[in-house]
């Protein structure tokens, strides 16, 4: 990558849930404007990495740096206010709140980054949501929920978007649409850290890739290399 300092730096992070340890020294860098993908199968620690960055599951060792300042152990709301937006794997829509209310809850004043997100702009990105403003979150389909959860996080105008398995459990056509919209966000200059097990989906978006296995980084390099090298892909991801 370029010589510029990364916006996000994860340094040798170890994380455990209670007694069971999940991450064993994960280090990641994300530069401004990049789309970086964490690839790996279920249970290798992708979600835990994201949660460690957000402060939802604070690391037991290691550091998380955001634009050079140490945010390790910050409360999640402070991390979010510093410019990181997290889109969880299980979506976690507020089921009793309407689509509009779900978005409204997450509104924060615009700051740099891809900035200036408004409810209108989210509806522009995901027109389907605009038709459902009054519907309760719990009554949306999986795809609609996924759009809402991304839209909701965007309302906070993050500079870095942490997307945890957005394609999971979605119909292929919805996945395609989602990929296009994420590409659009990237085109708008948003920095993205994506966790996926869907190889094709992530390789279509990512600039660089980290492959996780059993709580540690097994491979890191440009996405192009994985795209080009089927043998390597097979070896790393064993499809």
């Amino acid at each position: 990558m370029s010589g510029a300092a990364p916006v996000l730096e994860v340094r040798d992070v170890h994380t455990a849930y209670g007694l069971s340890r999940v991450l064993f020294g994960v280090s990641i860098e994300v530069h401004a404007g990049e789309c970086v993908c964490l690839l790996g199968r279920n249970g290798v620690g992708k979600t835990t990495t994201m949660r460690s960055i957000m402060g939802l599951t604070p690391p037991s060792a290691g550091r998380v740096l955001w634009k050079g300042s140490d945010i390790t152990g910050w409360a999640p709301y402070r991390v979010a206010r510093a410019g990181l937006g997290f889109v969880p794997e299980d979506r976690r829509i507020f089921a009793d709140l309407t689509v509009w209310e779900n978005l409204d809850v997450a509104v924060r004043a615009a700051r740099g980054g891809a900035g200036g997100f408004s409810i209108e702009r989210v509806f522009d990105l995901f027109p389907k949501l605009g038709e459902l403003t009054g519907r309760q979150g719990g009554f949306l389909s999986g795809g609609e929920q996924q759009m809402l959860t991304i839209g909701r996080t965007l309302m906070g105008n993050p500079e870095l978007l942490l997307l945890d398995e957005p394609s999971e459990g979605l119909a292929p056509i919805v996945v395609d649409h989602l990929r296009d919209q994420i590409a659009r966000l990237k085109g708008d200059g948003l920095t993205i850290l994506l966790a996926e097990q869907n190889v094709e989906f992530s390789l279509a978006l990512a600039d660089r890739v980290y492959v996780l296995e059993k709580g540690a980084i097994r491979f890191s390099g440009p996405a192009a290399r994985l795209r080009a090298d089927e043998a390597l892909r097979h070896e790393l991801l064993a499809l």
Binding site: N42, G43, F139, L140, G142, G169, N198, E200, K214
Partner: protein, 245 residues
């Protein structure tokens, strides 16, 4: 052995399981695969009585068990391990398995005898076959994740089930542990003449031991058959393996 007919379940309007039918023959090792959120765990919970289906029925050895509470389903001969490790953390390893024996053999209401030695041989034998015997006295909550998963299997086996449901038996395990667990499961299934139904994310695991695979996607069955058939099914490759040719 197990027959699931058109089972449906919706949560707050979200159709988690939309009419799933499948059957598992005696002695078979069957797997359910599908992306997260496809409805696998919900389907398991429907089968084991943890939640009631909105429609459809579940038959165990030809008898209708739809809507029975879990403790009765268990008594009819179904054992289960859970996706998130589910043991009795502040009991010793020995006590975990012993409790399952006590319950299964109907001694749970015995207020008079001493529990210490009850079913000691059976428990020890089972722990030995799981490779946990040396750790019998340890508090189970302090075991490693992999060992807890094995213990959970032991608890399920102590109920002497005819049908064993395993929800992601190797989730979160290291490669070595996964390998070992799979060997263990197939050995136990053989020795104990078990019928096995499991969900799993690890494709190596699925294709190495399953004789039949059902693929679930968005609450529907999209494919079913022998591993080779399923593996080559274009639909499955597309939605699950995430590749398109």
């Amino acid at each position: 052995m197990l027959e699931v007919r058109g089972v449906q379940k919706a949560f707050d309007g979200f159709q988690a399981v939309a009419g799933v039918s499948l059957s598992v023959a005696r002695g078979e090792i069957a797997a359910i695969i599908g992306p997260n959120g496809a409805g696998k765990t919900t389907l398991f919970n429907l089968v084991t009585g943890h939640i009631r289906p909105d429609a459809g029925s579940v038959l165990l050895e030809g008898r209708n068990i739809t809507g029975l509470p879990p403790h009765q389903v268990c008594r009819r001969g179904m054992g289960r391990s859970f996706q998130r490790t589910n043991i009795f953390p502040r009991l010793s390893v020995f006590q975990n398995v012993q409790a399952a024996f006590i319950s299964h053999r109907g001694r749970g209401l015995d207020l008079l005898s001493r529990v210490d030695r009850l079913y000691r041989d059976e428990t020890d034998a089972l722990l030995a076959s799981l490779g946990l015997l040396e750790r019998a006295g340890e508090m189970s909550g302090f075991l490693s994740h992999g060992a807890q998963k094995q213990l959970e299997l032991g608890i399920a086996l102590a109920s002497e089930p005819k049908l064993l449901l395993l929800d992601e038996p190797t989730a979160g395990m290291s490669a070595a542990e996964t390998h070992e667990t799979i060997r263990l499961i197939s050995r136990l299934a053989r020795e104990r003449d078990l019928t096995l139904l499991f969900t799993e994310h690890d494709m190596d695991v699925v294709f190495s031991i399953a004789q039949r695979i059902t693929v679930l996607h968005q609450g529907h069955v999209i494919a079913e058959g022998a591993p080779a058939e399923v593996r080559s099914d274009p639909e499955v490759r597309r939605v699950y393996l995430g590749e398109r040719r």
